[in-house]
Symmetry: C3
Subunit: 518 residues, 3 copies
């Protein structure tokens, strides 16, 4: 081989080497990203604790699906010790110190189901190990204390008591979910059953999980004893756990992958925010942001921490605006991570029965309006201000959100949109007030029986029309305003429905009071 | 070149070879998986039968879309002979023997449209070949007899007669779809037109496709004669075909790719299971399983046979629970493949008008309740047990489903969910009974005219409210119970609507009977 | 190294070269396709004009999201000069000549916001440059004149005046969106606010954007002056722009990527075509085409120009049938590109209040029916033919659509579907006529006040029932007919609802006229 040829060969090999390595990396990239690869499996095996290895020995054949799911999780390949070496903005672990025996192993079965069992009434002896069934925020706080602390200030973490311990709201639950039977010409409502609670309102709000005893089961691996739980399963956001804690991290970080990517995708929020009462997901779907998501999200990076607008995604999801740590390309923090979901929201769009500034405390059972009702507004619309954030705090929260908008939009774009939403809140509140006025006339005419007549305000035909006004239509219009919701502000439970419902209520009243039809 | 250099060159080439081949395989993998590659085209060409090649010669320019679609199908690259060499669990072909001339060619135009034409009333002469328009389950059964046999026991395969030959159900169809005209102050309903049938209920149920003659058409390739079909096109699941067979495989395995991947994705079922009567897809969408699907399905393998939970997917789709062959990682069969869709379901959630154990026979036209009506339940709710599966069979079917749940979940999770659903069936049936009670009072008061008064039970205002109770709201609550449906059990056609509808019916009755308003 | 070895080395390198290049191309393909790569960044930088570079200098840190978005756009890597070298079918640029200074630079900030500012009332001085806020079709027409000209003949381009300048339609807007207050027992409606207009009907129709002054803002980069705009932001399709032009290209080609791929995906159309009035997207979702899209679109090529059925996609999206340039594999044009969206549609399915042949002019404010109303049909259903396309034109448009269907389907499939839709239009018009008959009786009985009584035909309870008949239910059935919409033709705002609504209207009338209940 002559010199030039030799040189060419050699040079080519070098180039080929680089090309090949580049090609390999690129070819492997999608595999390692989606996690359906076994590339890191060997390393991952070394990180598994002995206890977890014992769990997997059986559960690989007993419940293989969740074991595989976990094997694809970050928990299966990460240790706290390694996580602590990352720059602060890249860390997903907020604990400064974790117990030594947890720091250098991956986060497996035993690390979640087998710690802190003393505080768990659902703990039991299982093949020589003390484990508990329900993994709770208190368990997760071993490694993620900041996030759990934030979530404890989140309205969602009180979703169970905020409903179950509010006597007025429970009248709505009971009249809506209770079994109704006909006795002669009378409809009688029974209190809902536990099943109905678990599948109705408390499906999203979360159940109270309690231990009612234990039971023996014949399993593939012999006879075993298990705790018997009431209110289980539940993945509701305000679940009351057997260790006394509130909440359920797997509502959004679905077990057993516990993925940040999943929590950042809007379908996760859709689990509870798609119905006519909170149509956030539907509104998002027809918004410009939702359109970008639908068209382009397959290209986005949902696992990057921190999350960089423009670099990792081109339009926000629910998490972007309400939860995630956002950093711009030059390293500036556009939004600090929060699991207090209303940290960046001034207004509670969800009317009870009127939209209002967010409550100061996540525990809303303490709220009383001037009329003594456990409502954040009067029936005439005024906010129960003592229990709600003030203008300073509203401005601060709104400012945090607008800073996020500002990573893509100018003030000329942002300011009028926020002004519109404030205006829309006022208008939808006014449309609710009109409905309330009609209802009050119905009560005064004895056509229905409200609180002043000793009845529930939610259980009769005209009362249910009133509920639809604020719970469905006013809410839909507000969400559409806040996110750009096209028909959800018009014909799809929007302004059309607000006005149509008023006319139906008015017509109902007119024919019964001989005032002529509407 | 010195020796070490030579060695290095040589060694490098070997490494490079391996790297390149690895890179190529990985780079090609997504292409061959999605099928948008022509890599195997040469081989595929060799497999095409002469007859099919003739078809393609013209149709490549006449209808290029479907030819391309077929070229990406498994049918275009597979032969029965090869398929028979696979281990049994991996086979998609269930025939033990197929005609020799079919065994070694790919499954192309002529192999489906050009066999068994003698039995096809839609067969015609086309450029020298006898072909038929409508490919039917009987045609597919040449290679897939087991699946066709299973499907023949599927309720869906009787979807046409089960509706068209049930006089009571047809009253619902006619009052709901027929043209209504105003004569003076009377609304008169005409029987629906054929068009309305094809686009209304029978769009999903399937039409009866018959040959009404033939017609001559000027085509790009000259004047040709074609059969004239009535009820065509139709892709309804219970289509009555011109060869007398029932069903339409392309309802789910959409022509001309006939893909198992597509049939396994929930959007396929959504074609007919998304409306208020059967909101299965909507419920799935907000369920935890649906959330996992939305967030992660781009990573799953939808073509693998057998389908391994955890390895190929991390949450079930409709097909996983109701159809697919599921095998665990250690080769154990978790579920045998079935095309009898209720093989793993004890309860028919779909109330007629009450939920009930599944019918014994897919042909439900034979059912009569004690009152002599062609209904699987009495109007008072008791099941017409003689025609329905018994508890032993219910337990067996439920057991099959729970075995699937068990690939991810423990008994502590599964058992209470199944108990809740049984309870919810009882409660929603009770809420239907209450509505029936109000309707009967309306009939007794002469405010509407039911069967006892010689009228249809479905055509008047109060009767339509009653239909909504069981057809929309009770069904929605049950599907939400079975799959975890959040708002579909609450405010989105859920319990709220069950109770609101009762109050509306009651109020309607009260004002007409001077019993005061509700 | 011996000769054969040398040869082998050399030959191997050649093979390796080819393999590597192939592997690299394949590996890079998904990146370059999704645009989340910086591979072409260097070249792209060279193309940026000096003015645009100045914009980016600041905006990279002020609004990094949109800069990144633009960097992924075709605009960032393309020049008109290069585009003009492509074969005509592959061009996205229709201008024959563009100003020299624009031809050889990429299409950046300054090229869109900094040209034609003289005609822009929203132009202002910004750091030494004259720029305008709102980029309009007139701006886009510099490079895309053919598309802008087509769009100017599109109904959507008149979406603002067609609503705002039609006194009758505005009665619907006002009664549906205006604030209603209760005075005694009377409901009084105020005209909607500007906010309500922007978020209600005109969210999709587009606002009139006007300059009302200017304002000074403290920004990160010092105090600056900006124009103050009314009606901004708006992305509605018929936006009236500050340069007097009509329309908004970014309604579908979302800024700042302006992607053809996005416009071709159905979620883009869903922004405005998902509600109960125009449920096109929902119908598509359950159609066979929509099912194919859901199952397979991740494999399709949404950026190819021209777009080849079968090669680039296996089922049509909205754009395929209504907009895109389609070419078959052998180079024949199956459909010319059009931005006049009804170019391939004979019928306007959207009833006002009856479905009718498409208007001749995109400006529908000129239409008067025989009764003198600004409606394309009489209240009794006859079309205002003078203003509508004739049968010749209907046949031509329908033919264009059928040619597209023909790339996959035979005439035996296509012809009956088009016949069914024509029939369904007639039937749904008849069901609207029946509702109109009931309404007229209500007016005659003095139970509501219509135009003849000096009232709005849209604001009372019975009138709103009538609106639902044609605006929601009849429309839904027609879209379901045209696309294959399963339940949207049956129970989901379908025929069931058409018939149920008639019964409700009839019942409402009966109890008020003592004609007995329905």
């Amino acid at each position: 081989m002559d010199r030039s040829r030799r040189y060419r060969t050699s040079r080519m090999i070098t180039i080929l080497e680089k090309l090949c390595i580049a090609a390999l990396i690129l070819a492997l990239a999608p595999l390692s990203r989606n996690g359906y690869s076994s590339v890191a499996a060997e390393d991952a095996n070394d990180l598994i604790s002995d206890d977890t290895a014992t769990c997997i020995d059986c559960h690989m054949s007993v419940t293989p699906g969740i074991v595989s799911d976990w094997q694809r999780s970050r928990h299966a390949t990460a240790t706290v010790a390694r996580a602590r070496t990352l720059p602060p903005q890249e860390r997903r672990v907020s604990a400064d110190v974790v117990p030594t025996h947890l720091a250098t192993v991956s986060v497996g079965c035993a690390e979640c189901h087998g710690q802190l069992t003393d505080g768990h009434s659902d703990a039991f002896e299982h093949n020589g190990y003390a484990i508990h069934v329900v993994v709770t925020p208190r368990d997760c706080a071993v490694c993620h204390p900041a996030e759990v602390e934030q979530y404890a200030q989140n309205l969602m973490s009180y979703a169970y008591p905020n409903l179950a311990e509010n006597a007025l709201y429970m009248q709505l639950v009971e009249s809506g979910s209770g079994l109704q039977r006909l006795h002669g010409s009378t409809l009688e409502t029974q209190p809902p059953s536990d099943t109905t609670y678990a599948e109705g309102c408390f499906y999203c709000h979360g159940t109270r999980v309690t231990v009612t005893g234990s039971e023996t089961r014949d399993t593939e691996l012999g006879t075993m004893e298990f705790p018997r739980l009431n209110g289980w399963p539940s993945q509701g956001v305000g679940r009351i756990n057997p260790d006394g804690s509130r909440g359920c991290c797997s509502s959004c970080h679905t077990r057993h992958r516990f993925s940040i990517a999943m929590a950042r995708k809007p379908a996760t929020c859709a689990q509870c925010h798609k119905g006519p009462d909170v149509p956030a997901y539907k509104v998002y779907g027809v918004s410009k942001h939702g359109n970008l998501y639908a068209a382009e999200h397959a290209e986005w990076d949902f696992t990057a921490v921190p999350w960089i607008p423009g670099e990792h995604f081109s339009a926000p999801t629910c998490a972007t605006c309400h939860v995630s740590l956002l950093v711009t390309g030059d390293g500036e923090i556009a939004a600090a991570r929060t699991h207090r979901m209303n940290d960046r929201s001034a207004w509670r769009l969800f009317g009870l029965p009127y939209a209002h500034p967010h409550p100061r405390s996540a525990n809303t059972t303490i709220i009383r309006n001037r009329a003594g009702l456990p409502l954040p507004t009067e029936l005439t619309g005024e906010p129960a201000s003592e229990f709600l954030i003030d203008e300073v705090e509203m401005t601060a929260r709104s400012g945090r959100m607008q800073r996020i908008c500002g990573t893509c939009h100018s003030t000329s774009w942002i300011a009028p949109l926020f002004a519109r939403t404030a205006h829309t809140i006022a208008e939808t509140n006014a449309m609710t007030l009109t409905a309330t006025g009609i209802l009050q006339q119905a009560w005064e005419h004895g056509l229905a029986s409200g609180p002043a007549q000793g009845g529930s305000p939610f259980d009769e035909n005209i009362e249910k029309m009133w509920v639809a006004q604020w719970l469905f239509y006013a809410n839909s219009v507000r969400f559409a305003s806040a996110m750009g919701g096209a028909d959800y502000g018009s014909f799809a439970n929007g302004r059309w429905n607000l006005s149509e419902n008023l006319r139906r209520m008015h017509d109902w009243l007119a024919i019964r009071t001989d005032a002529g039809s509407d």
